[in-house]
């Protein structure tokens, strides 16, 4: 499990980093925290000839909150998010989701940019980004482009990133104060990849009806995704037990997970429904009669 032969460069500026990627074309790979890439190298599932370490690039390590949104530099780690006391107020859904990410050592090194660029279908950060319509800033030799998270991820472990582009930041839209929300995921052990997970939020209008429902799921498809059919069940409704059960049924119908060694497809499908019920009940602060 030694890495394949490769060169390593550690540029000091973003411009140098992009230039280095451009020179090596598809043979170069960006490394940040290395928590996904290094295992892939050790298993020789990836064999780039050059690693471009963006770990020393300036200005990618901060979390800043402005009227425009919450900006995460690509090098922000899970530990940074956990330790940022503002976030529990400013984006409680994100804070709750990130609590499920991996184990201590990984949390100290793993980065939000790395997680987005790796695009694991069960990972929390891409799930939150898709659920919340995060905007991603990508810099390449021809300048900067900005994409919504669901446009950025194109499939299992794949994104629109070109070989000479670097994801530099992720912007989450500001969070409304009275917003109803919950995050639920289920993994064999805490910190493992989720067998299924749900990020849910909606706002309540003056009549007490839900609007702006966002329901995002992880671990049940080749990529994180929102479930518009479920959101449609919620929007314009008073969220009660009946609506929640309808939403959960819609969620089960909306996904088509695959069998794998960890769970059969039917389990993930049903689990998603259970998690959504629990998430929405918590968001609405009601107790569902537990079927058992």
């Amino acid at each position: 499990m030694k890495l394949p032969p490769l060169d390593y460069i550690c540029p000091a500026t973003l411009t140098e980093a992009i230039a280095a990627l451009a020179v090596h074309g598809g043979n170069a790979k960006v490394i940040a925290g290395g928590q996904s890439l290094v295992p892939m190298l050790a298993f020789r599932l990836a064999a780039p000839s050059v690693l471009v370490d963006i770990g020393q690039l300036p200005d990618l390590k901060s979390i800043s909150i402005s009227a425009e949104g919450i900006d995460f530099g690509a090098l922000v780690t899970w530990r940074d998010i956990e330790c940022d006391t503002r976030l529990a107020q400013v984006h409680p859904l994100l804070a709750a989701a990130i609590a499920h990410v991996a184990h201590y050592q990984i949390r100290n090194r793993g980065t939000v940019g790395g997680s987005m660029a790796h695009a694991d279908p069960a990972a929390e950060m891409p799930g939150i980004a898709v659920t919340c319509d995060a905007m991603l800033t990508i810099v390449g030799p021809n300048g900067t482009r900005i994409l919504r998270a669901d446009e950025f991820i194109t499939g299992g472990l794949s994104t629109v990133l070109e070989a000479d582009e670097i994801l530099t930041s992720i912007r989450l839209p500001l969070w409304k104060k009275a917003r109803r929300w919950a995050f639920e995921e289920f993994a064999p052990r805490h910190g493992d990849f989720a067998l299924a997970g749900v990020a849910a939020f909606y706002d309540i209008d003056a009549q007490g009806l839900a609007y702006n429902a966002h329901i995002g799921v992880i671990g049940v498809a080749d990529r994180p995704m929102r479930l518009p059919g479920v959101e449609a069940v919620l929007d314009g409704r008073r969220i009660d037990a009946d609506v929640i059960l309808q939403a959960a049924a819609a969620a089960r119908d909306a996904v088509d997970p695959a069998d794998d060694i960890h769970a059969e497809a039917a389990y993930r499908r049903d689990l998603l429904g259970v998690l959504l019920e629990r998430a929405l009940a918590r968001a609405a602060d009601i107790t569902l009669p537990e079927a058992a």
Binding site: K2, R189, A263, E290, A292
Partner: protein, 764 residues
């Protein structure tokens, strides 16, 4: 004669090895580095069953830093075969593993070539360039699933079948009021020691001698095996044991690499190091468990057990390794457990598949047998309307019935009897600890969406296998003591335990005692660590040597002080005469070497025993199980160090819970191992099962050895599946779910619940 107030045996002395480990000063195989050292990497078969048509290593040899590529051709016409160390039944011999594949591969991970290079990374780069032409053959992944014999000489893939038993089971079953037969299975998994295997082999061509560092468990046996394979005298080989990060039965057996790395070192006349990486560990180290059983119980309507029949089916993998048929044989032998069952028949079928070979793993066969039996007991008690605790109480062997013979269940072993104990008292203690009477109304109850269940599992556990162990004690010139023992240390705290035994006898403080262990350089012969034997055998040998050394010290002191032995006392590393004159051990040792050998021979086994109890909740909608409380109660005869025994028990419970809920080596129908990484092969971490308790009792010492010790390394794991599965089954009983197969993963429990609901709906 020593000061009884300061006795260390029986006290929870801090482990003397811990400072070394906690400060990072341990010396493990990967810490070894010597001048001129090369690194090996092993090309392992990527497919499960194939003929090897051609191997092309030319590209690898041309790469920078590559010193050699060794294949079967380099080893010679007769490829050495790894011998059977235990259970040497002749039926198994044709199925033993050659140290390298020559014409055929039979499992994913089988060694085909060894690359030796200036670095491990270069060696791995070269592995990718070796071209092998395979002629693919069908993989065999299940019992009787394929007509393809894996071995050309064999008509089918069954290596061994036997029947054994006692009493008259046919009559017992014919006359019984109640009979139930069920099929159970335990999934293939393995021990996963924290430190993977590793070796450094150094060949001295001038002296014609080989030193292999990183050996453990059964070093003297392994030296004999290696000497035969390399055509060397045993005295030409030293196997050196350094720190070992866990063994649990799998580490230290003779594996292909134990030949290949020394062979490479001799061939190249350079030191060669090999460190097993985690991926190859999961496909190369012995797998274990993987036993299915059809079990029948015959009872009177009052719950008295009349007879038991068990058919054990064991997937041995592609070869029979050193442990022979221990796993299935013990799975059969321990089916009756601690119960009075007068009529027993067992049969064993050991069959071969295209998977990694199987060996022993902590509690081999017992983990499985106790799960099978204790599950069936719960089912029977439920059918008969008898409380599961009362059912057990009624059938447990009483102290008056001990020793209780269980002869004839293992064809290659002589008579054996459960030795001493009060099985009922320990059982009652477990009930009390878990709060059985207060909590049993919770069985199957749904509270806040979670179903509660409490389960019990009773066991007997053998340990202390003979034939022998040796020790040698030396009083050094500075008055400190060196203990050398043939037992191996694999991280279990044996240095401290043996030090305690020597300290008490010789009145030398623990910090003046060093314990050397395992290496073949220490003694003429040693027997190693397995079957919970290191304290029983090694401890007794140390006690014998210490007693002899004490006599020698007294003799010397008698001469020195001019007083008779009867007037001398040993106090704090000195000999004191009644008249007040004294001489220190250091003074005595300065006058000439003081040394004594000790030995302990034994042909009977110790039988510890106990009961585990688990309280779990199951989320019936997700299948998630939470262990709310767990207690293991075991009588170990004598705990030399209660803190170490406690640690052994807690660690074993965690490891056992891994086997119940997580650990699972998954193969597809092509014989591919699908989860050879710790991202996919899940093991319990320190935080997964926080509420575990162990109660160690010393009710009945073992009569087999002067310490009174019974083995204490395995009792913590052997009933975990039994108690936990019974708890899960009790939780889900209202849903008509039965538990027959491990592991109990959330998706599998969910499936059982769903199927039971669908059956109920269809029936309605």
């Amino acid at each position: 004669m020593s000061d009884a107030a300061k006795l260390l045996v029986g006290s929870a002395v801090e482990r003397m090895e811990d400072a070394r480990f906690l400060s990072g000063s341990g010396n493990f195989a990967d810490d070894l580095a010597v001048e001129g050292m090369l690194h090996a990497a092993i090309l392992r078969s990527p497919i499960a069953h194939a003929r090897i048509v051609a191997i092309d290593v030319s590209a690898a040899l041309a790469m920078p830093g590559i010193r050699s590529v060794i294949t079967a051709r380099d080893i010679g016409d007769a490829i050495p075969i790894i011998p059977l160390r235990l259970a040497p039944l002749p039926e198994f011999e044709p199925f033993c593993q050659p140290v390298i594949a020559s014409d055929k591969v039979r499992y994913v991970g089988e060694p085909i070539a060894v690359v030796v290079a200036e670095s491990r990374a270069l060696a791995e780069d070269a592995l990718e360039t070796i071209g092998i032409e395979f002629e693919s053959l069908s993989a065999v992944t299940e019992r009787g699933a394929s007509e393809t014999p894996l071995f050309d000489f064999a008509e089918d893939n069954v290596a061994l079948r036997y029947d054994a038993g006692f009493g008259d089971p046919d009559a017992a079953f014919a006359s019984a009021d109640y009979v139930r037969t069920e099929r159970f299975s335990v999934q293939r998994h393995t021990a996963l020691p924290m430190e993977t295997r590793g070796l450094l082999a150094e060949w001295n061509s001038l002296a014609g001698r080989l030193v292999v560092t990183g050996a453990t468990k059964v070093t003297f046996y392994n030296r004999r095996a290696l000497a035969r394979m390399l055509d060397l005298g045993q005295d030409d080989i030293d196997l050196i044991e350094i720190d070992v990060g866990g063994g649990f039965g799998v580490r230290g057996e003779f594996y292909p690499e134990d030949f290949l790395i020394p062979f490479a070192a001799r061939k190249l006349a350079r030191p060669v190091k090999w460190i097993e990486d985690r991926r190859e560990h999961l496909m190369a180290i012995n797998h274990s468990r993987d036993v299915a059983c059809e079990l029948s119980l015959a009872c009177r309507s009052d719950g008295m057990i009349l007879g038991l029949r068990g058919r054990v089916f064991a997937d041995m993998g592609a070869y029979i390794r050193t442990n022979g048929g221990v796993v299935p044989a013990k799975a059969a032998q321990f089916l009756p457990g601690p119960y009075r069952i007068p009529n027993v028949s067992v049969s064993v079928e050991a069959f071969m598949t295209s998977k990694t070979p199987v060996g022993t793993y902590r509690g081999p066969g017992r983990f499985e047998a106790n799960f099978f039996r204790e599950r069936l007991i719960d089912m029977a008690a439920m059918d008969l309307g008898i409380d599961v605790a009362e059912f057990r109480r009624k059938n447990l062997i009483t102290e008056q019935e001990l020793p209780y013979p269980i002869d004839g269940l293992v064809p290659y072993e002589g008579p054996t009897s459960y030795d001493t104990g009060d099985y009922v008292e320990v059982f009652e203690r477990a009930l009390k600890e878990i709060g059985w009477h207060e909590k049993r109304h919770l069985q199957g109850k749904l509270i806040d969406g979670l179903r509660h269940g409490i389960g019990l599992g009773c066991f007997v556990e053998s340990g202390g296998a003979g034939p022998k162990e040796n020790a040698a004690l030396t009083l050094e010139k500075d008055g400190s003591l060196t203990v050398a023992v043939g037992s191996s240390v694999l991280g279990q705290g044996l240095e401290t335990v043996l030090g305690q035994i020597a300290s008490d006898t010789l009145s030398i403080p623990l910090d003046r005692i060093r314990v050397l262990h395992g290496s073949t350089t220490l003694l003429d012969e040693g027997f190693g660590t397995y079957h919970s034997r290191a304290v029983v055998m090694g401890g007794s040998a140390v006690l014998d040597a210490a007693t002899r050394l004490r006599e020698r010290i007294s003799e010397q002191a008698s001469n020195h002080l001019g007083r008779p032995n009867s007037e001398l006392r040993i106090v704090n590393a000195s000999v004191v005469a009644d008249n007040g004159a004294s001489v220190s051990f250091a003074t005595l040792a300065a006058g000439g070497e003081l040394q004594a050998d000790g030995t302990f021979s034994n042909d009977v086994r110790t039988y510890s025993y106990g009961t585990h109890a688990a309280h779990v909740t199951v989320d019936p909608r997700t299948g998630a199980v939470k262990v709310l409380d767990y207690v293991a109660v075991e009588d170990v005869g004598r705990a030399i160090n209660p803190a170490i025994v406690h640690g052994q028990a807690i660690g074993a419970i965690v490891q056992g819970l891994g086997g119940v809920f997580l650990d699972h080596l998954i193969y597809d129908d092509q014989g591919q191992l699908l989860n050879a990484s710790l991202a996919d092969y899940l093991v319990p971490t320190a935080s997964d099962f926080p509420v575990l308790r162990a109660v160690t009792l010393e009710l009945r010492p073992s009569p087999s050895n002067p310490l009174g010790a019974k083995g204490a390394g395995e009792g913590g794991i052997v009933a975990v599946a039994a108690a936990t599965a019974n708890a899960v089954a009790a939780a889900l009983a209202p849903l008509n779910v039965e538990i027959r197969h491990l592991p109990l993963t959330p998706p599998r429990l969910w499936r059982l619940i769903k199927d039971a609901r669908e059956r109920a709906t269809n029936a309605a």
